[in-house]
Amino acid sequence: MSAILETPVRAFESVSGAGAGEMLELAIGPHHPSTHGVFRMDVVLDGERVRRLKPVFGYLHRNHEKIAEGQSYLSSMPYTDRLDYFCSLTNNWAYALTVEKLAGLQVPERAEYIRVITAELTRVQNHLCLIGFLLQDMGASGTPLMYAFREREKILDLFESLTGARMMCNYMRFGGCRVDLPTGWMEEAQQVVQGLTRFLDEFEALLTGNEILMARTMHIGVLSSAAAVNAGVTGPMLRASGVNYDVRKVDRYGVYDRFDFRIPLGDHGDTYDRYLIRVLEMRESLKILRVALRDLPEGPVMDPKARLRGFRPKAGEAYGRIEAPKGELGFHLISDGSPNPFRYRVRPPSLMNLTVLEEMCMGRMLADVVVILGSVDIVLGEVDR
C-alpha cells in the first residue's frame, strides 16, 4: 500500500511503513462494492475519519478516443453508447449535435422532438438508478434498487422497441434519427410516463421524509457554489450547490425552448440536496415528456440531404455540449477533411465532478465517503473513456 502514496505525504511525515501509530492507509480499491465500477480511492484514515483521499483512475481506460481517430465519424456512434452506459441516448445526441455543428447539418422537426423524448426518458431512468444505488450504499440493500430497476425495465422496453437494443441504442445519426417510432409506441410511452408519475410519488413518500436518509445525508459532503464553479462541476451536483446553470436553458439546443420546465436549485449543496434535486429533475422531465409526446409533429426523421456514406466534413473544429443526466457532456471534434476525425475528445461530466471529491470527504467518516461517492453519480465508462 505504501506504493500508492508515492507523492510526498506532506502532512503525514510520521506515516512510514506498516501504518505506524494512528494512521491507517487503505485502498478502497478497484474491486469494491461501493465504487460503482473499477474506481479506486487511496484513503488515509485516522480511526474512522478520512485525512486524505486520492482518486486513482484508468482501470477502465478503453482508449475510446484513440479508436475513434482510426475510424469514420459514423462508426464512432456505437462507441458513444459505451461511454456512459446508463444513458446511451444522451451520449448519441451529444455526438450527433457536435457533428451537426461541425458540418452545419439541419435536423427535421420530428427528429428534434424524438431526441427530446428519448433524452428525458434517459434522464429519468438514470436518476432512478442513481437513487437506487445511493440507498444501497446507505445500507438499504436491495429494496429501493429493486423498485428503481423495475421502473427502469419499463423504460428500457420503450428503448428496445424503438431502437432495437435495451442499453446500447445507437439511435441517432448526423441530421436526425435512424428510424421512426413504431406504431403504438406513443401510447405506450404515455402510459409509462403516467405510471412513472404515480411511482415517483410513492417512491418519494417512502424516501424523502425518511429519518435515516436525512440523518445520513444532511450536511454531509457540502460543496460551496464558488468551489463547484471553479472545479468545473456541472449537472445536478452544481445545481444542488445553488448555481442556476443548465445547458438546456443556456444553450437552448434542440427544441428545449418550446417547453417550460423549471430548474430545481439546492441551497446547502449537501448530499440530501443532490438526492432531492434528482427527484425534482425527474418530475420536470416527466412534465417535458407529457408535453413533447402530446404535440409530436409529423414529418421525416432524417434530413433528406444528409449523406451517411462517405461523410466528409470540411476542415475545422467544433465543441458541442448537452445537459446529460450526470452533467455537461461535451464533444470536441477537429476535422481535417478526411472521413476520420483528426481529433475526437469527450468532455466527461463524471470525471469533472470527481475533482472536488477530496474536499467533500475530508474529515468525514468512512461510511459517509461511500454515500458522498454515491451522490456524485460516476460511471467508469465515461470517467476513464
Binding site: 477502465l60 481506460h61 478503453r62 482508449n63 484513440k66 482510426g70 425495465e153 465508462g381
Partner: protein, 207 residues
C-alpha cells in the same frame, strides 16, 4: 430387456422412491447455490445487475447473493472490458477465491477485447490469464443470455464426476489453484499471456 440405471431410477421415481448417488447429491447441492463474486467492470455489469433484479430474477438459480469478498464466492463473472491496468487485479482476485471456483466471461470485451480490441490499454480477452468455463457473446449480452450461461454452468457442474481421471480441477491435487499474476511492464503486460492457460488458436489452413 436390459434396464439401464437411468430407466430404473425413473421407474422407481414414479413409485415415489428416490434413488441418488453421492456424486449427484454433491453436484446438486453445489450447482444450485453458486454465489457469484460482485465483480462488475463495465456495461455488462449493468446487465448482470438487471439480471439479478425482479424481472429476470437470478434468484431462481440460487445465484442472487452477490458476495463482495472473493473468499465467499465460487463464481467470478468477468462482466466488462478487462484493461491491462486491471488484469493483475482480476487474476489476483481469482487466486484469492476458494476452490471450487468457476469463471464466466460475460460479453465480447471479456472474451476477446470486443469493440475495444484495438485499444492500447485493453486486454484481448480474459482467457489469456484465466481458465474460462462459460463464454457469453453479446455486447452487452441480454439478461436472458446470462441466465442461459448459468444453466450451462449448472449442467457443467452436474456432469463433473467425483472420482476418476475426468474429475474437475479442484478435486485433483496436482492441478494448480492459482495462476501467475501478470505485471504491468513499460509497454504492456509482462508476460503478454499465461502459456499454461492460453493457447492461441492455430489457423486451420485448408489444404
Amino acid at each position: 430387456m436390459e434396464v439401464t440405471d437411468q430407466e430404473l431410477k425413473i421407474d422407481l421415481q414414479k413409485q415415489g422412491v428416490l434413488m441418488t448417488s453421492l456424486n449427484e447429491l454433491y453436484n446438486w447441492g453445489r450447482k444450485n447455490s453458486v454465489w457469484p463474486l460482485q465483480f462488475g467492470l463495465a456495461c455488462c455489469a449493468i446487465e448482470m445487475i438487471a439480471a439479478s433484479m425482479a424481472r429476470y430474477d437470478l434468484a431462481r438459480f440460487g445465484a442472487e447473493v452477490f458476495r463482495p469478498s472473493p473468499r465467499q464466492a465460487d463464481l467470478m463473472i468477468v462482466a466488462g472490458t478487462v484493461t491491462k491496468k486491471m488484469a493483475p487485479q482480476v487474476v489476483r482476485l481469482y487466486n484469492q477465491m476458494a476452490e471450487p471456483k468457476y469463471v464466466i466471461a460475460m460479453g465480447a470485451c471479456a472474451i476477446s477485447g470486443g469493440p475495444f480490441k484495438q485499444g492500447y490499454n485493453v486486454l484481448k480477452g480474459i482467457d489469456r490469464y484465466l481458465p474460462v468455463d462459460v463464454h457469453i457473446p453479446g455486447c452487452p449480452p441480454r439478461p436472458e443470455a446470462l441466465l442461459h450461461a448459468f444453466m450451462t454452468l449448472q449442467n457443467k457442474i452436474a456432469s463433473q464426476p467425483l472420482t476418476g481421471p475426468a474429475r474437475p480441477r479442484h478435486l485433483r491435487a496436482g492441478a494448480p489453484s492459482e495462476f501467475s499474476v501478470p505485471q504491468c511492464g513499460p509497454h504492456g503486460l509482462v508476460p503478454p499471456s499465461n502459456p499454461a492457460v492460453w493457447r492461441p488458436p492455430t489457423a486451420a489452413q485448408a489444404g
